[in-house]
């Protein structure tokens, strides 16, 4: 009898211990399907740092990273690798909004939590933790409309046609400019999130429309566009959106450019990771993630840099390399505050 009780006790202890180990240790897969910019590298580095920070809280969070230039089937293969490895959660910066529905369904069947960041996905088996790209585009457009006093000729330089984030940003500025009858959108071009193409596009636009007052240009091309504006000697007459890389912020400060920048922080994946760890602890969100066009989103705040806080932003970036982006993320405490 005593023996049996002892056996039961030790079994119970073993179960309790394995339970504790399960609650403390998580394996999280990070999938990134495009490595064309330092922003993505910083995104992954910040997420890795966020995982390490959980150690102080008594949780061993191991991150497994798959980051390569892949097409959609290639990124589906990344997700399948994570499923094969038996991770607890997958955080993905997806190459397509809809293409992951079947593979995310398989992940959910395997008991894996899936969170997308930076770009929304349609899968009902995933949660989106990131910024609202439409609001990002709208905030920059609001700034431009306000800076121009509600009237003037404006051009827009966009990223990759057909890319969902690009389309959402475009719909964001279109909505805002439509509300300002004095703002005339004279042309919109695509420069594929490439600085050289952005510079070329701006050159062409300046040659075609000498009377431009404002430029709405996305990050990744704004530095190039501003170079053309400065080369044309028009930086005093044109207001244009900027970007959040340190080298641009420095240029902005030293040349006193009339600029403003919506911030899509590379810290979004770190924020998603902190949310994921809390979800893995079976905690419930105070407000369920049900916004966005796919009803599975939880939007993060979008910082904005303009003349008012440019000096602060520059200070935050001091000592960082030129390609480093201004960032912000949900700290563990910020994330905990969102849960019950």
């Amino acid at each position: 009898m005593k023996r049996l009780a002892g056996l039961l006790l030790s079994t119970a202890a073993a179960v309790a211990m394995s339970g504790a180990a399960w609650a403390a240790d998580f394996k999280i897969g990070l999938s990134n399907g495009w490595v064309g910019s330092e922003w993505r590298t910083q995104m992954i580095e910040e997420a890795q740092a966020a995982a390490a920070a959980w150690k102080a809280k008594g949780h061993n969070v191991t991150v497994l990273v798959q980051s390569a230039n892949v097409d959609v089937p290639g990124q589906i293969a990344q997700v399948r690798n994570f499923i094969n490895q038996g991770v607890n959660a997958i955080i993905i910066n997806p190459n397509s909004p809809t293409a992951f529905d079947p593979v995310f369904a398989q992940a959910k069947e395997a008991g894996i939590l899936v969170i997308s960041t930076d770009a929304e996905v349609s899968s009902p088996d995933a949660v989106y933790v990131g910024i609202d790209q439409k609001a990002w585009g709208a905030a920059a457009a609001e700034w431009l409309a306000k800076t121009l006093g509600g009237k003037g000729n404006v051009v827009a330089i966009n990223g990759v046609a057909g890319h969902p984030a690009n389309q959402m940003r475009v719909s964001g500025y279109k909505e805002v400019f439509a509300k300002h009858p004095g703002i005339k959108l004279v042309n919109e071009v695509n420069a594929n999130w490439d600085q050289a193409q952005g510079q070329q596009a701006m050159q062409n636009l300046l040659a075609t429309y000498p009377d431009i007052n404002g430029v709405w240009v996305q990050d990744g091309m704004a530095a190039g566009a501003w170079k053309s504006i400065m080369d044309a000697g028009k930086s005093g007459q044109i207001a244009g959106t900027g970007e959040i890389r340190k080298d641009f912020i420095d240029l902005w400060t030293s040349k006193k450019l009339n600029s403003g920048a919506s911030v899509n922080p590379p810290g979004v994946m770190a924020s998603a990771l902190n949310v994921a760890v809390l979800m893995l602890q079976k905690k419930q969100l105070k407000t369920p993630a049900t916004t966005g066009r796919y009803k599975n989103a939880m939007y993060l705040p979008i910082p904005f840099i303009d003349q008012a806080n440019l000096a602060d932003a520059a200070k935050k970036l001091e000592g960082k390399p030129g390609h480093y982006s201004y960032t912000s993320q949900l700290s563990i405490a910020d994330a905990e505050a969102l849960f019950k």
Binding site: P73, A77, Q167
Partner: protein, 314 residues
């Protein structure tokens, strides 16, 4: 030696087996039934595209628009299925139109290259932009979902066996039939010596057009697999597949100069590319090195194939 002559894909097969063993050693679950099913689901599209590309390469031509055809067919099929309501019959009708679209794209390529005598590499690059533009026109943003009936079939099981394995059996049957037609041999003859083939009375132009048409049809089949695996339309989905399909053809032991090769080799080549991708990850390559190591690994596989081939022939 005779084996090497009869089965020029033997070196590729050896590499494939080595890669399977290595994948299994580093991540045992990747070679489980579930793992293999996942591999097949993900790479069936590339296998089909590589097979299509092989027929074009047989004749010494190349098709840089294969991936764009995948995108165009994917977008057309998804839009048609949505337009017609997504029930069984409309899905079949959309598939039929998708195949016809691929065939038509292939015919356009064939006419441009073989009949109008434009250089294949530039002409099909141009048609690829045209096909991609058409796909973007039909569906400016990725995202229209495919009906659940379609992707659940592709991802599901028939008689307890995953659907993709049935698809592979059907593909094997199709390849066997194609191997028995005269077309494969004629394409190889044109690729080996176009002048000689023409002088011996072969209609070289018509044969090359047929090769492109076949490639277009296989690209359409690949698009159906992509649609099954991704459950949606995406006007850019096939873009990167083109060069991978060519790499698979070469890894499989076919000569880009034409006249020499096998479709089975290309099929194996596609799997090699897939397995290299997962192996690079399973061995624990840091993320910032994954692209580089993958590129080096593909180069090594190419060299290994050539060395093994030489040894076997010597």
């Amino acid at each position: 030696m005779t084996a090497m002559k009869r089965y020029p894909f033997l070196p590729a097969l050896v590499i494939l087996v080595v890669l399977l063993v290595l994948n299994g050693a580093f991540q045992p679950r990747s070679v489980s039934v579930a793992g293999m099913t996942g591999l097949a689901k993900t790479y069936l599209a590339l296998m089909l595209l590589a097979i299509g590309q092989t027929y074009v390469v047989y004749a010494g031509d190349i098709d840089l628009s294969a991936g764009a055809i995948v995108s165009l067919v994917n977008v057309s099929v998804v839009l048609l299925m949505e337009h017609w309501g997504g029930d069984g019959l409309s899905v079949l009708a959309a598939i039929a139109i998708g195949l016809a679209t691929g065939l038509a794209c292939g015919l356009i390529n064939g006419v441009v290259v073989a009949a109008l005598r434009l250089q294949a590499i530039v002409a099909t690059f141009a048609t690829s932009i045209f096909f991609m533009g058409l796909a973007l026109h039909l569906m400016p943003v990725a995202g229209t979902p495919a009906p659940a009936a379609f992707w659940r079939t592709y991802g599901g099981r028939v008689l307890e066996v995953p659907f993709v394995f049935w698809a592979i059996i059907a593909l094997a049957a199709l390849l066997t039939i194609l191997a028995r037609t005269r077309l494969a041999l004629q394409l190889l003859a044109v690729g080996d010596d176009a002048q000689g083939a023409y002088q011996s009375g072969l209609p070289a132009t018509a044969i090359r057009i047929k090769g492109y048409a076949l490639c277009g049809a296989f690209a359409a089949l690949a698009a159906l697999c992509v649609t099954g695996d991704t459950a949606s339309g995406d006007p850019l989905v096939g873009g990167k597949m083109t060069l991978f399909s060519i790499a698979a053809v070469v890894l499989g032991g076919s000569a880009l100069s034409g006249g020499h090769g096998t479709v089975v080799g290309s099929l194996i080549g596609a799997l090699i590319i897939g397995l290299i991708g997962s192996l690079v990850y399973f061995v624990g390559t840091p993320s910032e090195w994954q692209n580089l190591v993958q590129g080096v690994a593909i180069l090594l596989a190419l060299m290994a194939g050539i060395l093994v081939g030489r040894k076997a022939r010597a």
